[in-house]
């Protein structure tokens, strides 16, 4: 461990040999940091925190609170300035690998974030939220608590998310709504599936039952149907 003399690293913390700890960092007891991690100036980590390999923590980023729940972070994540990951006592928060959190972005307690997720500046994942792999949340978005964001979904900037967003879909507007297929993942089958789910007046469960039959088998459509079986549309989500 290469810690700057001004950093406060608790003897109870376990840091790999090549971790770089910048000036004024505070690392509490019970924090475990894997090899290759870099902590910029003034990073705070406290509570029960387990961090994998090769993560980069930029200045002022913060993981956990003293006496908080368990936080697990995978490998190769980037935490930008003042981003924060929280876990209230009795909850556990998990982040996968290769996620990128923008400045002031936050992951609230009890949330689960997959791999390759981009969380833009100022965006916040609400409590107990689930963000699946490759989802892209742009800047200044607010995700209500208990919402689920499907794989490779796109959430445009400044959008309040009040409902579950199915995989490969794009949500936009204020008040927000699913507007189209994620333009980066668009294909013919997903376009037809979007029409069935959002333009035909069917409920999510009815649409899920018909999707494979009407659109034809494709891994993306199957993932969409699977998600819709448990997803809650806006009306149910607001109850």
């Amino acid at each position: 461990m290469k810690a700057h003399p001004s950093a406060l690293v608790d003897p109870g913390a376990s840091l790999a040999d090549d971790v770089v700890v910048g000036p004024f960092c505070v690392i509490g007891a019970g924090v475990s940091i894997g090899p290759g991690c870099t902590l910029g100036p003034r990073v705070t980590m406290q509570g029960r925190v387990v961090i994998g390999r090769g993560n980069v923590f930029h200045p002022h980023s913060q993981v956990g609170t003293p006496g908080g729940g368990r936080i697990e972070i995978g490998d190769g994540n980037v935490f930008r300035e003042s981003s924060h990951v929280d876990a209230a006592p009795g909850t556990s928060t998990r982040l996968g690998s290769r996620n990128r959190l923008g400045a002031w972005a936050g992951v609230s307690s009890g949330s689960t974030v997959g791999d390759d997720v981009r969380l833009g500046a100022f965006s916040t994942v609400g409590e107990n939220g689930i963000v699946e792999d490759e989802a892209w949340i742009e800047g200044q978005c607010v995700l209500d608590a208990n919402r689920r964001i499907g794989r490779a979904a796109l959430i445009r900037s400044q959008v309040p998310v009040n409902e579950d967003v199915p995989p490969f879909m794009c949500i936009d507007g204020n008040p927000s709504g699913v507007q189209s297929v994620n333009p980066h993942r668009r294909n013919h089958l997903l376009d037809i599936a979007f029409e069935i789910v959002y333009k035909s007046g069917l409920s999510f469960s009815e649409a899920a039952a018909q999707l494979i039959e009407k659109v034809g088998p494709s891994p993306e459509v199957e993932a969409l149907a699977e998600f819709l079986k448990t997803a809650r549309p806006l009306e149910a989500a607001l109850d």
């Binding site: 004024f24 200045p59 002022h60």
Partner: protein, 281 residues
């Protein structure tokens, strides 16, 4: 050179004798700080960053950090800040990327309020105001004397024209024309920034010509090229109108209504899947 004993100034940093570095600041080895600039407390300045004279930088700012861009491969790009800027608490300014010009620039006499974020390769000219939590994506240009209200988001490669005023919590997805007021989720043009122009000493005739131009371009329903040539014919003697017309034609030359899109580096021909090349704003 008043450097507080608790501040960490790495060897190699060039700090002018009259600059003031407050407690718990961190100044990296490639940083240059000019005369009279004051870092209040807990400011982090890293990367190859040059800061001019008489700037006031409040607690918690991080200036010159790595760009949030997937194309960035650790190159030694720069951040340049001019004179007499006020940078409030928690502002983040990232350095440039080589594919985008390699430089993030803040001009002179700007005010960046709390939590504003200036991403890689942005240019903020002079006398601009970025209110709280304004979010500039990469490669954005903010021209002189523009005002961005709180929580405004600017799309990457967009340009905000000179003396434009962007209303609170708006999204600027396309170029914002100079001298206009924009507001709304799609950055709609709502009128002429006549109050701002009057305060800055623009002539009443010029402001009236801009109002007429606004009606012709955005309210008459004419196709844009025809509307622009009509405005040029009727009011072409005003330099403000010529600036506006040039700006609007330039936006059409770009892509998606953003002139600076033409600066977007072409994807390498050997890489078949065009990676969505955004940064994470």
């Amino acid at each position: 050179m008043p450097i507080h004993p608790s501040a960490i100034v790495e060897p190699g940093a060039r700090i002018h004798a009259s600059a003031e570095i407050g407690p718990f600041c961190v100044v990296g080895p490639k940083v240059t700080i000019g005369p009279g600039t004051r870092l209040v407390q807990g400011v982090t300045i890293i990367g190859r960053t040059t800061i001019g004279a008489r700037n006031l930088i409040h607690p918690g700012c991080v200036i010159g950090g790595d760009p949030q861009d997937l194309k960035f491969k650790g190159e030694d790009s720069t951040t340049v800040i001019g004179d007499e800027n006020v940078i409030r608490e928690g502002v983040t300014i990232n350095k440039g990327t080589m594919s985008g010009g390699g430089q993030t620039v803040i001009g002179n006499r700007n005010m960046l309020m709390s939590l504003a974020h200036v991403a890689h390769d942005c240019v903020v000219e002079d006398n601009c105001i970025l209110a709280n939590a304004v979010l500039l994506a990469g490669h954005v240009r903010i021209e002189s004397a523009a005002i961005l209200s709180g929580w405004v988001v600017v799309h990457h490669f967009a340009t905000v024209g000179q003396h434009a005023f962007i209303g609170g919590a708006s999204r600027v997805n396309q170029d914002a024309p100079p001298f206009m007021i924009l507001q709304g989720m799609e950055g709609q043009v709502r009128g002429v920034n006549s109050v701002g122009l009057k305060r800055r000493g623009f002539k009443p005739e010029a402001i009236n010509a801009l109002k007429d131009a606004y009606r012709i371009v955005w309210r008459s329903g004419l196709p844009k090229p025809e509307a622009l040539s009509e405005v040029e014919k009727s009011f072409g003697q005003f330099p403000e109108i010529r600036t506006l017309i040039e700006f609007l034609r330039g936006s059409d030359l770009g892509h998606m209504g953003r002139r600076r899109e033409s600066r977007r580096p072409a994807p390498a021909p050997t890489a078949p899947p065009p990676e969505p090349e955004e940064d994470i704003e």
